[in-house]
Symmetry: D3
Subunit: 284 residues, 6 copies
Amino acid sequence: MFVPRRIVEEKLRQILADDVGQGDVTAAAVIPKNLTVKAEVIAKDSGVAAGIEESIYLAEYLGLTVKANVADGDKIKNKQVLMQISGDAQTILCVERTMLNLLSRMSGIATKTRTLAEKLEKANAKAKIAATRKSAPGLLYFDKKAVVIGGGDPHRLHLDDMVLIKDNHLAIVGSVEEAVKKAKAHVSFSKKIEVEVTNLQDAVKAANAGADIIMLDNLSPKQAKVAVEALRKAGFDKVLLEVSGGITGENLLEYAQANVDVISMGELTHSVKALDISLEIIKE
Amino acid sequence: MFVPRRIVEEKLRQILADDVGQGDVTAAAVIPKNLTVKAEVIAKDSGVAAGIEESIYLAEYLGLTVKANVADGDKIKNKQVLMQISGDAQTILCVERTMLNLLSRMSGIATKTRTLAEKLEKANAKAKIAATRKSAPGLLYFDKKAVVIGGGDPHRLHLDDMVLIKDNHLAIVGSVEEAVKKAKAHVSFSKKIEVEVTNLQDAVKAANAGADIIMLDNLSPKQAKVAVEALRKAGFDKVLLEVSGGITGENLLEYAQANVDVISMGELTHSVKALDISLEIIKE
Amino acid sequence: MFVPRRIVEEKLRQILADDVGQGDVTAAAVIPKNLTVKAEVIAKDSGVAAGIEESIYLAEYLGLTVKANVADGDKIKNKQVLMQISGDAQTILCVERTMLNLLSRMSGIATKTRTLAEKLEKANAKAKIAATRKSAPGLLYFDKKAVVIGGGDPHRLHLDDMVLIKDNHLAIVGSVEEAVKKAKAHVSFSKKIEVEVTNLQDAVKAANAGADIIMLDNLSPKQAKVAVEALRKAGFDKVLLEVSGGITGENLLEYAQANVDVISMGELTHSVKALDISLEIIKE
Amino acid sequence: MFVPRRIVEEKLRQILADDVGQGDVTAAAVIPKNLTVKAEVIAKDSGVAAGIEESIYLAEYLGLTVKANVADGDKIKNKQVLMQISGDAQTILCVERTMLNLLSRMSGIATKTRTLAEKLEKANAKAKIAATRKSAPGLLYFDKKAVVIGGGDPHRLHLDDMVLIKDNHLAIVGSVEEAVKKAKAHVSFSKKIEVEVTNLQDAVKAANAGADIIMLDNLSPKQAKVAVEALRKAGFDKVLLEVSGGITGENLLEYAQANVDVISMGELTHSVKALDISLEIIKE
Amino acid sequence: MFVPRRIVEEKLRQILADDVGQGDVTAAAVIPKNLTVKAEVIAKDSGVAAGIEESIYLAEYLGLTVKANVADGDKIKNKQVLMQISGDAQTILCVERTMLNLLSRMSGIATKTRTLAEKLEKANAKAKIAATRKSAPGLLYFDKKAVVIGGGDPHRLHLDDMVLIKDNHLAIVGSVEEAVKKAKAHVSFSKKIEVEVTNLQDAVKAANAGADIIMLDNLSPKQAKVAVEALRKAGFDKVLLEVSGGITGENLLEYAQANVDVISMGELTHSVKALDISLEIIKE
Amino acid sequence: MFVPRRIVEEKLRQILADDVGQGDVTAAAVIPKNLTVKAEVIAKDSGVAAGIEESIYLAEYLGLTVKANVADGDKIKNKQVLMQISGDAQTILCVERTMLNLLSRMSGIATKTRTLAEKLEKANAKAKIAATRKSAPGLLYFDKKAVVIGGGDPHRLHLDDMVLIKDNHLAIVGSVEEAVKKAKAHVSFSKKIEVEVTNLQDAVKAANAGADIIMLDNLSPKQAKVAVEALRKAGFDKVLLEVSGGITGENLLEYAQANVDVISMGELTHSVKALDISLEIIKE
């Protein structure tokens, strides 16, 4: 996910403008104009940094000077100074919360993702942790990027980059075969086709119909394992297998032992625990 | 927070457009055009409904027909059908995730807020639960509205509606008195002035200087109690007292016993646990 | 009212784009490309400068160099050179009218406000001149800022920063007490509550119900005086008292003698006399 | 100036959104949801109605029902009911000020224009009153439309629809002949070319060079008369002659007697006296 | 490519607004307000209809009534009436050119695509005609949709839905293997990976490295055939093979005989011959 | 057509954002961050350069360094290096196609226009080649500018800058005289009035009614010649005469011999043959 800085800046401007409204009345009333101050962005908890790039973009866009001590993806500790910012005092105070909201949400997502990804690595599992589209409304770009920074796979970025046939599509089309057949007939050769199934039979049908990826939805770890082995035994070597639904930090490794390729978890982005990060004006 | 429907629709259109990109390739490939189907939005967990109004706006905006069985603020149970939607199948499938992301985030916020608000009510505490500006980036409107639906106070809506002098402002201005004095001199009479303090002495100074609200930041419940009593004894009856920092569901009642007016918690909106809600196409 | 420069620039870009349309055909046809010229912005009347900051932002945003000889709020005289601008000739000519429209409107507002504010000061009145929301459509930010530069109070900035219960709200709710009671019950503690009343009885009811501010609407100076004295006598010391309606430069001091806190006048922003300011290319 | 309704609605939505911010806290706190009320828009002064179409668009866009008793351009009297509006109470109260700001500004412009236009008509002058680009920032569309409703000529709508060579262009190009020559060489045949001159000699040069319109800037009525007669005598029958600069309601007829075609006045739109119009909820 | 109608409407509104500017001065001056007329959209050439859906959306969005006699993808003949429109005369005349520009460009693209697609069908070639990203600036959605309507494959929709490693990427990375290896390591499992190569050796390397699709760029039909056969012989059965560069209507079948899967042609969208379509007001 | 650079940049940003979507997955996966490279923009065909200014704006806006070897309007040859660009590799690869789409479309338009303009010059015809509003949807600014660069006349820029009464207006109004009369009565003096006619009689009526320009639509060269001579003989010396409809490169000179002032051709912008231009990363 590479987006030219100017396009990211415009996203950030809109987020900031939403917070500013008709003006920051506190900065205007209390802080002198054209006063230069220094500030530090400090971690109040340990985790994985994300949103550093966006924070630099935002600060520099507003004419502030930033020195970042960490990069996106770096592990950070409580009390660690992540960035030093200097510039116009009113501007720093006005943008403080927008910047911290970005940093703490993105770092929270990256931290959770990294924890799970490392759990898989340590267990030598081949599975990759992946996100879903269950993000905060309108925040797909930032949420997905944070997952990537945390070492996860963003999965499809939105609705245009992959066919993902889910239960509701199947409820309308009627059968897995029919749905995959339709997808292959009507979608561009440039797209992968994934199907969500809830049992082995449908998984086999999907594979036979030519799905590139099969999502085993809401299976127990044991059921998932049976399904994966059956599919591999049936010769579907190239089909990627994804599990989703009901997966938590606790049962993650059980699912990993099913030898799946991808484990996707909505809670990576829909139920984020923000990492505690604050900004402090430095008195000199 | 009343916002004319057309303005909310435009916010929703932008959120949807971000998810759609160049098009929903799955709906296009797999689902017939102009097919009318029915769907149900179903709770998968119990909690407090929020985002129902936005969901109705969004669905009707797209030409769908909605029958809502619950209103924002209603308690909902697992398996409860919240809304029935009918209309164009491609449209329903395309908007499904955007709608659920709104509903599940807003309902998650409302549910958490209600739980804490009820805890306070049962304890006959006069304190009100309040949000902060620690929302997901760009989602102040939706996050604050969900807090209100949950029975909480939205606190200031963004930077233009109140003076809130925080530690960083004080670090620049130098003293609580000076900061409040400046605020009173320069801000419109239409705004309240709040000051964040970390000890009783500063609280007294703030009250003397004419602050409307004093935020006792990062005090222990015991310290908060001492401060509140001292301030009331000193005759500051009209000054609202708010505690913030380090407050959790566990120690909430201890803070309430300090007899404060407002208890604000960033986690209401920065660390949301989404309420599980899904949409299911109804086969007939 | 502090708004980060980049957000102001985007407002200015939209205003400029509205004037440019598909292109400045005169500059394109008559003025050479890449020609550097100098220009002066010159007052053609005396008054108070406002819009200087916006003009600097706009000029620099377009790559021009500006030297401002006055700051917002400075008194200016006929023939005074307010700013010197140098840069691309086509750009200067294209932006000339947008810049002057901003400057002359904002300076007109600031000049009128200052005249009235000084009148009050000289009379040792405690009352402050305040604006209303009766601005030119969409220009709340610029109009309110000009009032502040002129020494007035912006009053509420728009609909989200204060409760102001007016005659039409009362017509629906039925009584002043009920309206204030509802406001206190449903609005955030962070907002002040103001009520518009047209007689002393309702003013007393509003004060008793807990209004923070009472607007005495369309009272004669004498009636206003009676009402203020009665309210103060009744012990409502903290309630701010505002008069509005039918106030002009002529009767201003009569209202001031009623000892009110705030005198708000719609004409500050709805019937602006633009200050005459022009831009002249300097021949060398 | 015909603009499709949907495009006007979007302009109006942006103006409204600027006023609403994060929400109308008064309507939310005090007015019940889903309450239907009636309101009347009432003139508080006599003049010419303008902005009626925009008000209808705005009200209907928000789901309100409108019955307009007057059309744009109609003469209206004090106490006359201009429109009856019914619908959601919160919506009416939220949009009230935006609608009145449009109506009162546009009606103020139309009223002033009409007064001057009628003065010319009564004197049997052939001259037409025209606007300039000296509008409130960003309001060219609304301000120009109001001039047209008042019976004036909008003059060029912005920078793309006509060549108008002014003093600053001439200061760069050097001579009237050269400027007109350049304009004729480089601009599309579809555009008229106007030149601003300050004396008769330059007027003749401009006419000889082929200008379609000559603006006599800052001439006295007598000078203007001399110039017009000299030009007509010299055979320039087709060239339109415009006077501008220093024209007021008082000396208007003197300029008209100079037999010019167009009299343009910046104050029509830069120094608007809003017409007093209010909205009242009807108690039933 | 399914995009909810409201999102398409907003794209269309922006295109229309660009053409309208400050207003349609001709419709305003010449056509009465509120006059209802009928119009027909008529083909002036034979081809394949596209843009019909967008035209219906646009017309209905503006309050017009449309009866479409053809659907997107239908073959149309000279003089055929494609749509009947009725409604406000000023609106129809104002939107006429925007609608025809959409229709004639999209139908031009669909017609060209269909011609080539049918050529391939008749020759029993398995190859599919595909578009590229060489569209008119900003028109990816409309141009790609027209290709699909014409029976072509849209290829990737923009930069987020597929990895396509081109010559310039290879110039930086150094080798095909390295580039594909990097892509597989860093991109989501949800994306296909395509590599552009200019000779057989690189094609084999790409296939070995795991590319999903190989684009044979600027090969002659004969070279393409040799490459395809070599790759198939080497056992790369699943790899899709695309040819691109220098393909025209004339040599299309020669490339098809190379047995490739996809033939992509930039000229489908970068050098469009608009289909002649006009709108005529019906006199009754 | 002069548009301030910042306004053009915003147009370009939107075009680029449409192509980028959620991110350039190829550049992200394959190209290192913060790698500086050089690239050349190279003509692959001969023609007239256009879009150079836009390309410089776009590249510099994104932080790239550009050295342009040609200016808009210069003749270019196959293999000529038009621009040298250096800067961030991911950024260059991400913007490549957007830049080339602009360059190749605009240069294609300029090349075609120049060819026809030179044909007229060589024949000593007084007629000017002109564009129409038949552009690609939303691209009026870029398409018209390219025509101007090619030596053509842009004709009206959109709907606000000229009255052009066409067949459909006449179908409603009834007669040429009536239409022109209405236009003269209702449109600003600042606009020219053009009428489209299909025979000599109507042309004479239009001239008599005071049209500034007469468009002879769909006449044969011979008919056009007869009409022009008749009009000139009738003394209409100042009326501009335009031919339109059915004009091609082949019959262009025949129309020119009719002695018309303007020859407008829709195909200049509706059926563009893009000039082949590519970007190549330079290996060092």
